[in-house]
């Protein structure tokens, strides 16, 4: 097994190359001298002649040494590889002999590695993988900070001002989203899309696969509408037909000419947009600073940092504000990477998960290290004999490390298969809107990562046992009859430390899982402000080409509401601009009557348009006053219903009904007085765990024309039904079709589903953390069991002697339980410290629970202790059954 190196090193060989060359040359010169002396020369003359013949000895020697060193390097590499090959072959034989051990260790590590690789591949796909843009690092998203609140939208004037900052931005583009209604191709269909300025694709650095991109001339007022589409839409709806270029399709009933198709790589950038048309901002819009409705993306100029970009954009906004009467000057800009913009939140979630799986992997490693330590004891004799046969300590350590490396490489291979399956599950379980997750693959980076994990875990697993194993002395091992108890006291300590580490890691994970369970529990009890059961919602959009006039728009919606109320099973039906929990904000600032507030002091609110019966349909009980009525139309006095929090903010302790509010009209800047007629509960517009925003509801019949454009002339139909809400979808569709057969119903959902989706992210992380926590618990309890069981098996004789000397079973209990519980208690102490740190990482995802929640801590400590006691109990039972006779028989 330990064959000597093939090339025998003769005893005479000088160790260093320079000595070797020197000795060889000296011998040569001596031989020449001998010959010359034999031919009759004097020794002195002969020496001089020999040296002369040799030539420049320094130069020749240097050349020989160079070749000699090269030779030694090649040779040591070859020897190393040969030894490695032997080690690998030996490790395979050893593992083959200990099948049970190999299977347990491989399975444990494979689980850890598999879970880690699966989460890593998701993390990589979502948050680390570069976007398919040219120089993606320079592509940024701009955000505006106004009075300490950060928002995504800018005014068109701000866009123009920022675009002119050529010193900071190579190009800037504005986007306004929504979608297009595609008609003339069967059923009218809403396709995700956006209106963008001509530079949009220049900002991203993407060129069309087919056709051309937008030109500045496409993006001016009155230019015929042209569109670009994604590869996916082109494939699915146009059968990859290249003749689509130049074809005219109807979008929102406006003829639009297809000018290009984007490359397939652009499909997966995390937005749902599939069509783009130029925004065609008018000259008036480009100088107007009222109304914020554009999102901005930009490409930083070369060598410009994000901070510098934010500075430049902020300055441009402030200069514009200074020229705009009444505008707040406390504005600044934030620049964040485009990737952060689309993947920031899911990245945070996935990082938490990644931390959790790394903990599980660590626990798995500790478990396998423990197994190896036990095995090391059994193998102490073999190692001692090999050491006696001349294997150096380094060689033995390497041999043992190679064994764990072989083990963990095998585990990584199995782990990859596990990861493959887990990844599929992860994609299914993850919140639906996680960007780019569907593109998670096992690719080169993931493979490299797995390889790295395998090497890292083999070192973690193998180093301590290997160093320990190699230290085993021949004498003590053989003297103890090869029972392998050499240094067993020390070994017990190491194993106890490992168990403590395992418990601490498991505790950290369980605390995280516990905090998320508590968060989910709190979310369950949040009062959403509405009754979610039996409510269906569906958005109706009125295409701009056919619905331009405000009166016509409101008339159509009134007809739609009437038609929908006739549908059997529909009890109450209303319309609203935005449903709770679906995100999307239309904000403005208001002033209560009797106060003079400048731009900075006005109260920021969310604004909604609603019809009579919306509150009833949504199940929002009126707290005071009345609902909107049919008579609140464009000719009547302007009225508003406000949320409870807004009422409290405007008139604390007073009744709000009958008071007046000024909401500045977006386009005119003139006062727009509204009388409060009702107060309703607060609802959350983003998610259940988001703070409530003060909200003002206006009748849709009093909506200014400009607002219809800002909302894309769309309202959501909200119906409270007697049967299950899904049952009425078809009838609702037919009812809408009686008003206009070309109107699509989109975003059809139920409030119950929206509620569930709103907490999907939290539930996803909770589910996975609980699963991982359970896995950690199982691994940790196996570890505890292993240590105690091993202790008992090693101490059978000692226990027997104790019993013979009169120890009661109770004493033995105490001895064994103490042995098992002590490391667990240590682990719990360390675990408290660790979990406080880990809790901080989770903070952003918690709701209604502090990172140091005592209830969670108590529950986790309880669970861990309980499991540990059970894991200790089983071997302890065995210990008290030891009889002196059996203990001696074991010898």
């Amino acid at each position: 097994m330990n064959t000597p190196p093939r090339r025998s090193r003769s005893l005479f060989k000088p160790r260093r190359v320079e000595d070797e060359v020197g000795a060889e040359f000296a011998f040569h010169v001596d031989m020449v001298i001998q010959t010359l002396v034999a031919d009759g020369m004097t020794p002195e003359a002969a020496r001089a002649e020999a040296v002369r013949r040799f030539g420049d000895m320094v130069v020749v020697s240097a050349e020989c040494q160079r070749f000699g060193r090269q030779r030694d390097r090649t040779r040591s590499r070859a020897e190393y590889l040969e030894e490695l090959r032997q080690d690998v072959a030996f490790a395979l034989r050893q593992l083959g002999r200990a099948r049970g051990f190999a299977a347990t260790a491989t399975a444990t590590l494979a689980l850890g590695i598999g879970a880690t690789v699966a989460v890593f591949s998701a993390l990589y796909a979502v948050a680390l993988r570069p976007l398919p843009f040219t120089e993606p690092d320079r592509v940024v998203q701009l955000l505006a900070t106004r009075r300490g609140e950060t928002e995504q939208i800018f005014s068109s004037g701000e866009f123009a001002a920022i675009r002119d900052r050529r010193d900071a931005f190579a190009s800037v583009a504005a986007i306004t989203g929504g979608g297009f209604t595609l008609t003339g191709m069967g059923v009218p269909e809403l396709v995700g899309g956006a209106l963008v300025t001509a530079d949009y694709f220049r900002v991203l650095g993407v060129s069309p696969l087919l056709g051309r991109g937008f030109l500045p001339s496409d993006d001016v007022e009155g230019a015929p509408r042209v569109i670009l589409m994604t590869h996916e839409l082109w494939t699915n709806r146009f059968a990859s037909d290249t003749s689509v270029i130049g074809r005219t399709i109807r979008l929102d009933d406006e003829p639009s000419t297809v000018i290009g198709v984007l490359p397939a790589a652009f499909d997966g950038v995390g937005t749902e947009d599939a069509l783009w048309a130029p925004l065609r901002l008018t000259t008036a819009q480009l100088t107007s600073n009222s109304g914020r409705w554009l999102r901005l993306v930009a490409r930083l100029a070369p060598a410009v940092t994000r901070e510098h970009g934010a500075d430049a954009a902020g300055k441009a906004m402030q200069e514009l504000a200074a020229r705009t009467p009444g505008a707040s000057r406390t504005v600044s800009a934030v620049v964040r990477s485009y990737l952060d913009g689309i993947a920031g939140k899911p990245r945070e979630r996935l990082l938490v998960l990644f931390g959790a799986v790394m903990l599980v992997l660590l626990i798995a490693c500790v478990n396998v290290a423990n197994l190896l330590l036990a095995r090391g004891t059994e193998r102490a004799r073999e190692l001692a004999i090999r050491a006696a046969l001349g294997a150096g300590r380094g060689r033995l350590v390497r041999q043992l490390l190679v064994e764990t490396l072989v083990l963990s490489l095998g585990a990584a291979a199995v782990g990859l298969a596990i990861a493959f399956a887990l990844m599929k599950g992860l994609i299914v379980l993850a919140p639906e809107n996680t960007p780019r997750l569907d593109q998670a693959r096992v690719n080169g980076i993931v493979l490299l990562f797995s390889l790295g994990l395998a090497v890292a875990s083999s070192i973690m697993v193998g180093l301590v046992p290997a160093l320990r194993g190699a230290r085993t002395s021949l004498q003590s091992t053989l003297r103890e009859g090869g029972r392998g108890t050499a240094g067993s006291g020390q070994r017990d300590r190491v194993r106890a430390t490992l168990v403590a580490a395992e418990v601490a890691l498991a505790m950290t994970l369980l605390i995280g899982a516990g905090l998320l369970i508590r968060t989910a529990w709190h979310l369950q009890r949040v009062d959403p402000g509405f009754h979610a059961d039996h409510v269906i919602t569906a958005r109706v959009l009125l295409p701009a080409a056919r619905y331009r006039d405000t009166a016509q728009i409101t008339r159509t919606y009134t007809q739609i509401r009437e038609a929908a109320s006739q549908v059997p099973g529909v009890r109450r039906v209303g319309l609203v601009s935005l449903v709770p929990l679906t995100g999307g904000v239309l904000g403005t600032r208001i002033t209560p009557e009797g106060k003079q507030l400048d731009a900075d002091e006005q109260i920021a609110i969310d604004i909604r348009y609603a019809s009579p019966d919306f509150f009833a349909a949504m199940g929002m009980a009126l707290l005071d006053g009345r609902d909107f009525v049919r008579e609140d139309d464009a000719t009547a006095v302007s009225v508003a219903v406000i949320s409870a929090s807004l009422a409290g903010k405007l008139w604390p302790g007073e009744r709000a009904i009958g008071k007046r509010i000024d909401a500045m009209a977006v386009e005119s800047g003139k006062p727009n007085w509204m009388t409060v007629v009702g107060v309703v509960p607060d609802v959350r517009s983003e998610a259940l765990n988001a703070p409530v925003a003060p909200t003002l509801y206006m009748p849709y019949t009093q909506t200014p024309a400009g607002m219809w454009n800002a909302t894309g002339r769309s309202l959501v139909l909200v119906a409270r039904t007697s049967p299950e809400p899904e049952a009425v979808v078809r009838s609702l569709q037919q009812a809408v079709a009686t008003v206009d057969p070309l109107l699509p119903l989109v975003d059809v959902s139920t409030m119950e589903r929206l509620l569930a989706e709103s907490t999907a992210g939290t539930r996803f992380n909770m589910l996975l953390l609980v699963t991982l926590g359970a896995l950690a618990l199982v691994l940790a309890s196996i570890g505890v069991y292993g240590v105690v069981a091993y202790y008992v098996s090693q101490r059978t004789r000692e226990i027997g002697v104790h019993m013979a000397l009169g120890a009661t079973p109770r004493d033995i209990w105490r001895l064994v339980l103490g042995r098992g519980l002590r490391p667990i208690l240590w682990g719990l102490v360390v675990g408290v410290g660790l979990s406080l740190g880990a809790g901080r990482v989770l903070r952003g995802q918690l709701y209604g629970v502090s990172t140091q929640d005592p209830a969670t801590l108590a529950a986790v400590v309880g669970v861990l202790l309980g499991v540990a006691v059970v894991a200790t109990f089983v071997p302890a039972m065995r210990a008290i059954r030891v009889t002196p006779a059996r203990a001696l028989a074991a010898e």
Partner: protein, 112 residues
């Protein structure tokens, strides 16, 4: 392997040939070459030793330190199978070379 230049190649071939009759030390190789070429070819030490180290590095030669008949410590070289293969190919190349230039430079010798 790039064709070594003619001079190097010939020296290598001579050294390898010397070793086909058994291991020798450097001095022994020089003596063997001188004897076999009737003292016409006198390889210099400055060429021989670097060649030996180079061929050892390349695995054509294998070296061991041993003791001479006179009881002196010396480095002995032996030819390896790889060295033998190289010798064969070098010899073939030399043959091609000589049969190409001989008719030009040595018509009389070539005609023999």
């Amino acid at each position: 392997m790039p064709p070594t230049d003619r001079l190097h190649g010939t020296l290598d071939a001579l050294v390898l040939k010397a070793l086909t009759f058994g291991p020798r030390h450097g001095f022994g190789i020089l003596r063997w070459i001188a004897e076999r070429t009737s003292d016409v070819v006198n390889v210099e030490e400055g060429s021989l030793y670097p060649a030996l180290y180079r061929m050892e590095r390349d695995g054509w030669l294998d070296a061991t330190w041993g003791v001479t008949d006179q009881g002196r410590r010396a480095k002995f070289y032996a030819i390896t199978p790889k060295g033998r293969r190289h010798l064969a190919s070098e010899t073939r190349d030399l043959e091609t070379f000589i049969s190409a230039i001989a008719p030009v430079l040595l018509p009389a010798w070539a005609a023999r």
